[in-house]
Amino acid sequence: MDITDLTLIELRDALRAGATSSFVATQAMIDRIVTYDNALCSYLNLTDQDALQQASDADSRLADGEELPLLGVPIAVKDIICTSGVETTAGSKILEGFIPPYDAFVVEKLKEAGAVILGKTNTDEFAMGSSTENSAYVTTHNPWDVSRVPGGSSGGSAAAVAARLAYGALGTDTGGSVRQPASFCGVVGLRPTYGRVSRWGVIAFASSLDQVGTFGRNVADCTALFQVITGHDRRDSTSLDVPYENFEAVLTGDVAGLRVGIPQEYFIAGIEPEVEAAVRTAIDKLAELGAEIVEISLPHTEYALPVYYLIAPAEASANLARYDGVRYGPRLKADDMIATVKKTRSLFGAEPKRRIMLGTYALSAGYYDAYYGRALKARTLIKNDFKRAFEQVDVIATPTSPTTAFKIGAKVDDPLSMYLSDIFTLSLNLSASCGLSLPCGFDSNGLPIGLQLIGDTLQEATILNAAYAYEQATDWHERAPVLPESSSEQ
């Protein structure tokens, strides 16, 4: 058996049993990345020497009988998450060469858990995008069809996990940036409730919407990684201080009596027929497993897109004001300080500039009430939709995205059409819900289709178990993409 084919849990168990070593697993992953990632471009920065050192250390600790949750397991981290001493760019030229002086909370947690960090994965610039085409460095290719996008913004992490170039990965999800690429790449991606995971050390895009999430090849892998990054952190004032939960223990696969809501507003014109058919079949499967299917309504769904595209850019315009070339990133000098700042900020790519412009306008005097203020009120209606729905049901099931992975270049010139790719995911970020995407079929082009399961505030255990039940009854997660080999010259 090829060691890179093991799941995260299988590798963890094999390491604990002494059946293999972290060094062997890490070296095998690195070899595989060298062989295949020239064609996929899932990594921006492979930290192979650090990873092998961490693997050797893990092997010593394993030999000493230490039992840590991820001891010796190689994991990838989205390049918007700060890693001490390792370049972190957020996919932007404005942070080229930036070496963070500290680890993000989630990276501290990975290290405490004994994980080996393989490297940093590609992302749309500042996580703004749905395809990784907005990365200032490279476009990641979908492992199932390299002429297509992997989704985004955490497309590098999703592609790496799908292609067996990492046993698991971290991403961030502001409007769907974990779930949509998970759907496009045929892996499991979890977006926890806002506040469940600390944002300390995560480069901010939209602070009221950003959340770190996890990718795994199956539900148990995704859960094991999620377990490690939870916990209260007083350095993020929005981090929730909630009791410890053992998420792996709740994966029983029992969904008898679980009430699953199907919102009529998510089955609309524009959704690909094969996507709708696969999702409806998946819902039937949940019913077969004992779940009770309930038709529900989330009446303000159609307003989520405009609300999101006012709130997220407004917050982004404030967060990205800090990039002035003074403390980090290149400084492009001009005649005076304001001209220097303006010249330096020309290092932003088209999408961040577009969102900074939009956000600045929505927040500017005279337009604040008409745009940003109105969006905040409409957000309340969207949030209340979910609140009412979760009085009736335990889980909401929908497609993750209206389509499967689209061709590279197909939407780059039309931002509105690109934004529609997240139409089913972004309501959740505006509300206080959690959600995940898991594979529920393939279309006639052989591209993965994702089922989104949404849970109420802090009800990750409920959606993870529902996903686990579905996964046990199907075998979509066992399929692997056939990768094109590329030159091993790096």
Binding site: H300, K383, L416
Partner: protein, 96 residues
């Protein structure tokens, strides 16, 4: 909502972005289209609806008022070439 060229230039100045003539034209068109889509929100009756700024409401999150070690200066200054006397150097913004 059709933005004028002057409006786009003014937004760019507020956002400290140096845009080319082509970029101004591009954003004039794209922002107008996005704002048109956003105008759908005027259909909603929002009288008496309170705004939601955060998904999970929290109030008065405090930390102990205690002095703790800061990052080492060399780490903080590591990411710039423009430094002197343990400080970031910028161009003068005030006259003598």
């Amino acid at each position: 909502m059709e933005l004028t060229r002057q409006q786009v230039e003014q937004i760019a100045h507020l956002a400290r972005l140096d845009l080319s003539a082509e970029e101004i034209t591009l954003y004039q068109n794209q922002l107008s289209a996005i704002l048109d889509a956003a105008d759908r929100l005027t259909e909603l009756d929002l009288d008496g609806v309170l705004p939601t700024a955060r998904a999970v409401p929290m109030q008065n999150v405090m930390r102990p008022d205690r002095v703790e070690p800061s990052l080492p200066l060399e780490d903080v200054l590591y990411n710039t070439d423009h430094q002197a006397s343990d400080q970031f150097v910028i161009q003068a913004i005030l006259d003598d």
